[in-house]
């Protein structure tokens, strides 16, 4: 077994050690260092793959399958327990929302960001107009031609609705724009949450949120918010 064989074996199955491979590692310091580096990568790889599981996906399987299976055979106590827990959760959620509506919205927006890290990159490539229009149309929204340069557009499931998730390129780097026709905010707000500056403003229908990473000046975010707000048309 030569060094190339060893590295191919380690790269394919880092956890596997045959006697031949172990013997080679004991004698070859370069391959031993390679194995150690790979082991470090492996630990990080596992953490990277373990993305957070949203509450909806973590709930019991019966919550998904039970709907198709019908409720007739479900034990009554389970229905009552489920109803009580849902009512409790709804009350708690409503209470939190009424106390901290913008903070709760900002937290949900930042959590959503964790699932699309590939979107927030500098880019000079605009989203194809047809693709952008399709994403916007799904939520009853359109963008005027003078909108900021959009490099990413996806229709995302957010708090019970599909909403446009856009990334616009600015001199301060990429900023995320979420158009939220179903959200209501009374006044504009700027919040710092999870490494983001989140600006949420009321719109003609609902709200618009812009998220910038790092210490971007509020005035620079306001400029983008103003341009986006002026360009958004609610058609639905």
């Amino acid at each position: 077994m030569n060094c190339l064989d060893v590295r191919r074996a380690l790269g394919a199955e880092p956890g596997r050690r045959t006697p031949e491979l172990t013997a080679h590692l004991a004698e070859c310091s370069a391959c031993a260092a390679y194995a150690a580096e790979l082991a470090r990568l492996e630990a990080t790889l596992r953490r990277a793959l373990e993305v957070p599981v949203p509450p909806a996906a973590a709930r019991p399987a019966g919550a998904a399958a039970g709907g198709a299976a019908g409720g007739a055979a479900r034990p009554r106590t389970r229905w009552y327990a489920l109803a009580a827990s849902l009512a409790g959760a709804a009350l708690l959620s409503a209470a939190l929302w009424s106390l901290y509506p913008r903070e709760a919205l900002a937290t949900a927006l930042v959590e959503h960001m964790a699932h699309e890290p590939q979107s927030r990159r500098r880019s000079e490539v605009a989203v194809a107009p047809a693709a952008l229009a399709a994403v916007l149309r799904r939520s009853g929204v359109a963008l005027a031609p003078d909108a900021p340069f959009v490099s990413y557009a996806q229709s995302c499931w957010f708090r019970g609705r599909y909403v446009p998730h856009l990334v616009v390129q600015t001199p301060d780097g990429p900023m995320t724009v979420m158009v939220l026709p179903h959200e209501r905010v009374a006044t504009p707000a700027l919040l710092d949450e999870g490494g983001y500056r989140v600006m949420i403003v009321p719109a003609a229908h609902g709200a618009i949120a812009v998220l910038a990473q790092g210490p971007v000046a509020a005035t620079r975010i306001e400029e983008i918010v103003a341009r986006v707000a002026a360009a958004v048309r609610f058609t639905g």
Partner: protein, 172 residues
Amino acid sequence: MSESVSTPDQKLRFEAVCGRLRPDLYRFAFWLARDRSVAEDVVQDTLLRAWRSFDSLGDAAAARPWLLTIARREFARRFERKSLETVDVDDLAELEDPALAAENSQEVLDLRAAIFALERDYREPLVLQVLMGYSTEEIATHMELTPGAVLTRLFRARQKLKAAVLGEAEEP
């Protein structure tokens, strides 16, 4: 399994066998789709299909590969349906400006971005091996490949990740 023959015991058994696997199912679907909302939909559809054919699962120990296989098919079905109406995310590049989520280090975020950019042929066997603990033979069965092809993909996947994160050239 039809609605008329389902019993509370069957539902409890389904929850016991399949419910504990829901996080795995979500993560597998997420890395297939690279999209949270699609992953959640795939999980829902997978569990519904699994419930309808739950009788065909003889051994509870086989539940995970059974569910992941259903999820793979559901994703393929969904991708075929939605490919014309969604934004193309296959042309993903290395992330330049990763998120600063409090619970994750920069290293994790960089690597996550690199995994996002991997082609599905490399991403899927990696997820099955690292997250699901699949053996090479199990991955080969799941992906309908030879074990040799799986080993090659796993090696290349790690090479690509190392190249992306550490800036190293890929080895032959």
